[in-house]
């Protein structure tokens, strides 16, 4: 923004953005895109015969893997909307896994879930003290929180799980004794019906049945809670005065302060909620994905959640999509992924070809040619091989994130004061 623009706005400034234009796309457009994606997916499945592409098992596994990433991303969303970059999510998730494992095996898994959240909040508060009260650089503080969380949980796990009753119940320094499982929900009747439809491998119909079946079969209660939290966060942050104030702390804290908002308190609240959500994500890993706390269980999911949030342009809907993408490609690795990812190469070819056509139509010659060349290269790869090596399947989400970010980073808009130091009463 240049100085002249802020100093002397033209009196008859054109109303660039009308009132109702909010997130860019209308509902109809979104539905069109979803339908198009489904058609494309169905077509690729028919051509390649890779039925795992959208089977209920695949979708269900993807959902289970997407939830912790999504919760981590939601945690990042809360704190970054209030202007605090939270790279300590990984550490808060680790605290969550530990808290859940520790209380979970001794009492009920529900209390374990709560304890996971509580430990996450503690981690969030440490981050808030460093960044908000002391004004430490946010990434620096986040790295420190990650280090501290890892060290503390390793130490405590050695103390709590390696001796006495815990070790008799199956604990060791790197693992807690198993906790009981949380209930799962299956919609009776419908699940079986969908499964039988899916088996016929009809074009589009079976694809739909597989996806819906995966979403309603053997669903963990925590997954439902996570979905509710997503909707609740959206409502709270974008539809209430509290949310407006919280987001104003991330956009322009000085302006918020001038309107009487206690910026410190809002930032503290946001980072504490963020820690709690990350802790819940960790607890999900400890209590739903497996039944114990395991050292190194989070496996960098805090960072991935952050990437999913940026991918989703700091909005809950986009973030959910990003988390779904990561969950899906994670699930591929578990379930005979080589063949399925190989089928996805064809999808990539189609998408790249479409992109090339669009860019050429728009007269962006260089980008168009690059996309076309990429499409041809991937096509050659597809035709010459039968399977993608499993090590590369694991790397798929990271490569996809890099690609998506490099294609769309310029259209992303982070909260304006995200990561900036704010001191009360010292704004200009």
């Amino acid at each position: 923004m240049t100085a002249t623009m802020t100093d002397a706005p033209p009196p008859a400034a054109p109303k660039a953005e009308g009132a109702p234009r909010r997130s860019g796309r209308s509902l109809g457009m979104t539905l069109m895109i979803v339908a198009g994606a489904l058609l494309l997916l169905a077509a690729v499945r028919m051509i390649t015969g890779a039925n795992q592409l959208d089977s209920a098992g695949q979708v269900g596994a993807a959902l289970g893997l997407a939830v912790p990433i999504g919760l981590a991303g939601l945690a990042g969303l809360w704190s970054e909307r209030a202007g605090v970059v939270n790279i300590g999510l990984e550490g808060m998730m680790i605290l969550g896994t530990f808290g859940a494992g520790w209380v979970g095996w001794q009492t009920s898994p529900w209390l374990g879930l709560l304890c996971g959240i509580g430990f996450g909040v503690l981690g969030g508060l440490v981050h808030a003290v460093a960044t908000v009260t002391f004004g430490v650089d946010h990434i620096v503080s986040g790295v420190a929180v990650n280090l501290l969380a890892l060290g503390a949980t390793q130490y405590l796990a050695k103390l709590f799980f390696a001796e006495g009753e815990a070790s008799e119940a199956g604990g060791n320094p790197k693992q807690s004794p198993p906790a009981e499982s949380l209930p799962h929900v299956t919609v009776p009747g419908l699940s079986d019906a969908l499964a039988s439809v899916e088996k016929h491998h009809w074009f589009l119909v079976s694809d739909l049945a597989g996806i819906v079946g995966g979403l309603i079969t053997n669903l963990s209660v925590v997954t439902i809670i996570a979905v509710l939290l997503f909707i609740g966060s959206w409502w709270l942050l974008w539809r209430t005065p509290f949310g407006l104030r919280l987001r104003s702390c991330g956009e322009n804290p000085t302006a918020a302060e001038s309107l009487g908002v206690d910026v410190y308190r809002y930032k503290y609240a946001a980072v504490a909620v963020s820690g709690g959500l990350a802790g819940l994500g960790g607890a999900f890993l400890a209590l739903v994905t497996s039944h114990t706390y395991l050292e190194g269980q989070t496996g960098g999911r805090g960072y991935i959640g952050l990437a999913a949030m940026i991918f989703g342009n700091w909005r809950p809907g986009g973030l959910a999509m990003g988390a779904g993408l990561f969950g899906y490609s994670d699930a591929l690795q578990l379930r005979n992924g080589g063949v399925t990812v190989h089928a996805l190469l064809l999808l990539l070819v189609v998408l790249l070809a479409l992109l090339a056509g669009w860019k050429l139509y728009k007269k962006a010659l260089l980008q168009g040619v690059i996309s076309a060349v990429m499409a041809v290269l991937v096509l050659v790869w597809y035709l010459l091989t039968d399977e993608v090596p499993s090590d590369f399947v694991g790397a798929t989400p990271y490569v996809v994130t890099l690609l998506v970010l490099s294609l769309s980073a310029q259209r992303l808009r982070m909260p304006k004061a995200d990561g900036m130091r704010y001191r009360k009463g010292q704004g200009k």
Binding site: I87, V126, A130, F134, G135, V136, D137, I139, V140, S141, V143, A144, V145, L147, L148, A149, L150, G151, A152, Q154, Y155, A157, K158, L159, P173, G300, Y303, L306, A307, I310, P389, D391, F392, G394, A395, Y398, V399, T401, L402, L405, S406, L407, A409, Q410
Partner: protein
Amino acid sequence: MNKLTQRIDKERLLLGIAAPLLAIVAALVVTTVVILATGKDPGAAFSDMATYGFASDSQVYILNKATTYYLAGVAVAIGFRMNLFNIGVDGQYRLAAFIAAVLGGALTVPGWLAIPLIIICAMATGALWAAIAGVLKVSRGVSEVISTIMLNSIATAIIAYLLQPGKLGQLDQAGTLVSTKPLPSSSYFFSFDTGPAGELWGFIVVAVLVGIAYWFVLGRTRFGFDLRTVGQSESAASASGVSVKKMIATSMIISGAVAGLIGMPTLLNDSHQFSNDFPAGIGFTGIAIALLGRNHPIGIALGALLWGFLERTTNHLEFQGYDKEILGVIQGVIVLCVVIAYEVVRRYGMKRQQQKVGAELAAQAAAATKKQEVA
């Protein structure tokens, strides 16, 4: 006037030392509390750490460890100096060490040629891997924090794919460890024999040279000045004719090249091959050490030595009935306290300076009015 600047400098020095001291004291207090909470005697633990840590064989071990950590700290610090968070040091050094080990195992040229080739190969690999993040940042605006995290995971996948028997790896006799072809003994780096205390890795010389180069380039050259300017204010830098994008890409590449060196002490002095138990996660240690040393060449060295000392001595605590996992707690507390202490001290220093300037101005004003009254 001369006197005044001298006094401020001394004060700044004091303030500079105050922060890490404050942090270490805080870490000691927290550690004491933690050990007390488990019902054991912290005093004996500390005295064991001190006596064991200063034994001569421990010192050699610590210096060897610190060599690696120092290079990691410098690699991270180069980015930090211009507000770039190169979290990807971890992937850069692992990929670099792997490729260099493959090259070293395949080379049949004499050592004086092979060793520089291996080192250059490692630096080039690290630089290339970092360049991806740098180019994405300047051309597409992708945050380097996210892209380097992704590149770390991709590097892990590439190494896992290539390091397999039949590809670039081979199984050892026990059948548990996959490694690259070992380096011929002519490609071993020299080391200092310190008798019973063990061998001091010769790569420490390279680490010292890197430290001197880091100090010289950043503090004494036009390039270093530009780099620091970009770090402090991008708009000021571009106004004075510095191409910010070029600086970002260049410093990312240099950071990656230094990151490529991190695996070299281990590869050339110790393991002589890259196996699946090659030390991992040193990139993150480097972040902690760069923070601890405040990106200063000597500060980083002290941080690296402290880390080596802690690692060596907490490991020994296991034999005294303590838990060696206390290491993570100590390290985490130190880093967190250090970053907070720096901020507190910075604020205090700024306040003192403002007060001083205010007092001076007031004195001047008072003198001026007095003169006027006299006249």
